[in-house]
């Protein structure tokens, strides 16, 4: 009887039905949720410990947590881990700043000028089809195996999404706002700083955030292939020498960095777009 037309049987409702579920004791549920958020990692760690103790796997494959901790402390105190960290983060921020600069300039230019859009946008769309990871071998051949290639890769991974966000941010500004500015004969520079920049900022910042996550992934991948330092290189070295403890520490650190970057950026985002949200409210 499921012909898609009249679907739900209609019966007279004899008693009032609560439209929405009564507000459950939400506070309690929330508390339970927080507890669970702590609980599941604990279960994971305990499970891991038990697995490493069970003797089913050799300790080299499922490394016991205390060994991981010891390795971490050793590598942290002998300065190797901090070196890898500064190496990776330096590259990330260097390439990111270059890429974001190019992206913002290019995207804003395309957004402001129809001519620039007509000249640049199609080529830009072609570039966007080429995943950065797939460009690693070609870039290695062009730029060699030094620092340049990593900076270029991170800059490329950053520039394209940022340019797109900047472009969309500027294009999304209501025409009337610009018209108002023009009617009041506001100088072009003031129009730029007081209308275009604040109005396109929320979209741009969002693009900057996704670009940061993406460039971190590209950098880790690039370091796995070519590097003499960095978290990726540390993991690759651990792989080649069968040091699973190093690999696992690398994985955790990579995740923590990704997480911290994202959270930090979200905080920055809230700070920067405070004004525009207040206007909406």
């Amino acid at each position: 009887m499921d012909d898609g037309s009249v679907i739900l049987k209609t019966r007279p409702v004899s008693e009032p039905v609560a439209l929405l579920a009564p507000p459950a004791p939400e506070r309690k549920a929330w508390k339970r949720q927080r507890l669970a958020a702590v609980l599941s990692p604990i279960i994971l760690i305990v499970g891991w410990t038990l697995l490493s103790r069970s003797g089913w796997f050799p300790a080299e494959i499922v490394v016991p947590p205390e060994v991981l901790w010891k390795t971490f402390v050793t590598y942290w105190s002998n300065g190797q881990l901090p070196d890898h960290l500064t190496g990776s983060l330096g590259r990330l921020f260097g390439g990111y700043l270059i890429g974001a600069g190019i992206g913002i300039a290019l995207g804003t230019l395309m957004g402001v000028s129809k001519q620039a859009e007509a000249y640049v946008l199609p080529g830009f769309h072609i570039m966007r089809q080429l995943p950065t990871v797939a460009l690693i071998p070609a870039f290695i051949m062009i730029f060699g195996v030094g620092e340049t290639v990593k900076l270029v890769l991170v800059a490329k991974a950053t520039a394209l999404p940022v340019a797109l966000a900047a472009f969309q941010g500027v294009k999304g500004i209501p025409r009337t706002w610009l018209d108002v500015a023009r009617i009041h004969r506001i100088p072009a520079l003031t129009q730029f700083t007081h209308v275009i920049v604040p109005a396109s900022l929320p979209v741009l910042v969002q693009g900057l955030r996704t670009a940061l996550a993406r460039s971190w992934m590209v950098l880790v991948a690039a370091e796995l292939l070519v590097a003499d330092s960095g978290i990726g290189q540390m993991m690759e070295w651990g792989r080649q020498t069968f040091r699973l403890d190093l690999v696992l520490i690398g994985v955790v650190i990579t995740g923590l960095i990704g997480f911290t970057l994202d959270k930090g950026f979200r905080a920055l985002e809230r700070l920067l777009t405070r004004g525009s949200r207040r206007q909406e409210a």
Partner: protein
């Protein structure tokens, strides 16, 4: 003076030609880049190694199509992507649905899912390599994860964000559990599930190539690139890049067309 109030606004032939000519502006920069590349290749033997002449690239395209290198690697990558997408997508939708439906699952699994997802996918490669080796299963694992992450998230979000008023209407009409699912929950969540699957398509293709770059054995476009790089044959690497780009573009196009068709009943904002 007000004789011609109504003007014919249909584009004339002249307008069309102008539009076409203006559209050509987009080709200026790509063509300049190609010319620069070609010029660089003619600077000397060393430069010709890196900046392979364009006719060389074209020649090697024909050559490697004929000798089967391109079709074999291409199909291998496509097949791998498809299986990874199927495995990861299926598991992802299931887990997302489970998490959205059963609180205990949500509470226990969600934090772990969020934690695991923080590590960039390709960062798992050394770990997977040591645990599962460098063969086909490792590649499939990476690709499946690439499909898994976005489908879990979007299925979960889609089911969680069903309009409460729609469910309330269902309750007023005393809809059974199945009816509620079939006519309220499913259509409500489907757009989001589809978004997840679309992201998965793009992401699986990328990670397929990425995993092939790192796990050497077996055919695949990533492999073709790795071998090309090792042998310093830029034309092979470039061909692979171009094929990867074109394939990604075409699949995204197909998927978005399918999504448009499947979801055409939805009110587009």
């Amino acid at each position: 003076m007000n004789t011609a109030v109504l003007t014919d606004i249909r584009p004339t032939t002249g307008d069309r030609i102008t539009k076409f000519a203006l559209g050509l502006r987009g080709f200026v920069i790509p063509v300049l880049a190609l010319v620069a590349w070609q010029l660089a290749s003619q600077q000397g033997a060393v430069q010709a190694y890196v900046f392979v002449p364009l006719d060389g690239v074209f020649k090697s395209l024909i050559e490697h199509f004929a000798d089967g290198e391109i079709p074999i690697n291409w199909l291998a990558s496509l097949g791998r992507t498809a299986s990874g997408f199927a495995i990861g997508g299926l598991l992802g939708v299931s887990l997302g649905a489970l998490m959205a439906t059963f609180r205990p699952v949500d509470v226990l699994v969600n934090p772990i899912y969020q934690a695991v997802r923080q590590v960039p996918l390709l960062g798992y490669i050394p770990l997977i390599s040591l645990w599962f080796g460098n063969g086909e299963p490792s590649k499939l694992l990476i690709i499946s994860l690439a499909a898994f992450y976005p489908t879990v998230l979007n299925t979960y979000e889609g089911l969680k964000h069903i309009d409460a008023r729609h469910v309330a209407v269902g309750r007023i009409f005393l809809a059974s559990r199945w009816q509620t699912f079939r006519h309220i929950v499913l259509p409500g969540a489907l757009p989001s599930v589809f978004t997840g699957l679309m992201q998965a398509v793009a992401f699986t293709w990328l990670s397929s190539v990425g995993s092939e770059l790192f796990f050497n054995p077996g055919p695949g476009l990533g492999n073709m690139m790795a071998n090309g790089q090792a042998a310093f044959r830029m034309e092979v690497v470039l061909l692979a890049v171009i094929i990867i780009g074109v394939t990604g573009y075409v699949t995204n196009l197909i998927v978005s067309k399918i999504a448009d068709r499947v979801l055409r009943w939805r009110n587009v904002r």
